[in-house]
């Protein structure tokens, strides 16, 4: 085995070891690395009142209600569980029913999540606006595109 090859092997081996160490750390701290909890993850956790967390999911269809001109309530769902959220403030442009959203705030009691910040999440699909119309006209529109 030549010296060059030995050095190459040593470098690659070191990289693999460091990479697995980093990945193990990240895997075991994934709850902290993840930016938000999904509603079904919340179900498994013990709810701590007034502790700031973030939840993420879709705004449930037909759940959006205006309480007043600047305060709203809606459900955040991941199709397995859903959480009632109240928010007063300005919603992002993309926010609507069926749209992904990340909500920052805290539970005020076991059922109601009071939001301080609402972020809209958009998906990885890009499509011209004109095609959406065509798809709807021909009935090929997939509801999950929303």
């Amino acid at each position: 085995m030549s010296l060059r090859f030995q050095r190459l092997l040593l470098i690659l081996l070191t990289l693999v070891i460091i990479l697995s160490a980093v990945l193990l750390i990240l895997y075991n701290t994934r709850e902290n690395v993840s930016y938000f909890y999904t509603p079904s993850e919340i179900d498994e956790l013990e709810i701590v009142i007034n502790k700031t967390i973030r939840i993420g999911g879709f705004v449930e269809n037909d759940s959006f209600n205006k309480i007043s001109s600047s305060s709203f309530k809606f459900n955040i769902t991941d199709e397995k569980a859903s959480i009632l959220v109240t928010f007063s403030g300005i919603l992002p442009d993309l926010f609507r029913e069926g749209q992904g959203a990340v909500i920052e705030g805290a539970f005020v009691d076991n059922d109601i999540f009071k939001a301080t910040n609402v972020f809209a999440k958009h998906d990885e699909n890009y499509m011209p606006a004109s095609i959406k119309k065509d798809l709807k006209d021909t009935g090929y529109w997939n509801k999950k595109y929303k």
């Binding site: 990479l19 930016y35 999904t38 992002p92 993309l94 699909n125 011209p128």
Partner: protein, 232 residues
């Protein structure tokens, strides 16, 4: 392919390709911008804001590509004692840093109208911020150390350790819940982007590659000359 590892052969090839690269980058950039601003449609969801993608995505790809190239050359430099590897490290680190900065700034401008925030500490954004910091550290390391032989090795090792961040950036959106959406274009599945938006994206990516290559050629040549005259 010797020009990829041999400074004097690189100089020869660089002299041939520099002018074509320069012309191509100008042509591609102008066609790309015309496509991005006038010939591409609005997104069904994001409207006109989607045009930020034509700057944001190519700069992100180039930031990662630049680092990947530095990683390969660091391995070559350390394992096979090829000095050209260290020349590349010194020359292209600032280019990668600028691409990362463009990516972060354009992403921030995109995040405000779409997500409702300039910046969040989710896994994707944080790992790209770390990439930027790594680039800055490499640039400063290249400016420090009296002894060139020591400096080159330390920088190359640091580049290798930092390369662990690359898969983390790439897969952060799949491994963890993030505000950033998952990849649109991946090798395994059909891209979920319409061809009318894919074309400007490809042209802009090629334009970014050409601009990066042009600056890289100039910086590598400068680095070769300054080493020959023992300036650094």
């Amino acid at each position: 392919m010797k020009f990829l590892v041999n400074p004097s052969k690189f100089n020869k090839v660089a002299d041939y390709v520099f002018l074509p690269v320069l012309i191509l980058s100008i042509i591609l950039f102008f066609t790309g911008l015309i496509f991005a601003f006038y010939l591409s449609p609005d997104d069904y969801q994001q409207g006109s804001t989607v045009r930020i993608m034509y700057v944001h995505v190519p700069s992100a790809w180039l930031a990662l590509l630049t680092y990947a190239i530095m990683t390969l050359y660091s391995i070559a430099g350390l394992a096979f004692r090829i000095p050209f590897g260290f020349i590349i490290n010194t020359a292209v680190a600032p280019i990668g840093a600028v691409f990362t900065l463009i990516c972060i700034l354009s992403g921030s401008l995109w995040g405000k109208p779409m997500w409702g925030t300039w910046w969040v500490w989710d896994a994707r954004l944080t790992s790209v911020a770390i990439l930027f910091i790594i680039y800055i550290i490499i640039i400063f390391m290249n400016l420090s150390f009296e002894n060139r032989a020591v400096r080159e090795k330390v920088v190359a090792i640091f580049v290798l350790v930092g390369s662990i961040n690359l898969p983390i950036i790439k897969f952060s959106v799949d491994w963890w819940n993030t505000l950033h959406q998952p990849a649109t274009i991946s090798k395994l599945s059909k891209p979920s982007i319409d061809p009318s938006m894919m074309i400007p994206l490809i042209i802009m990516t090629l334009a970014f590659i050409m601009v990066g290559l042009g600056i890289a050629i100039l910086r590598i040549k400068t680095e070769i000359i300054s080493r020959k005259s023992n300036l650094s």
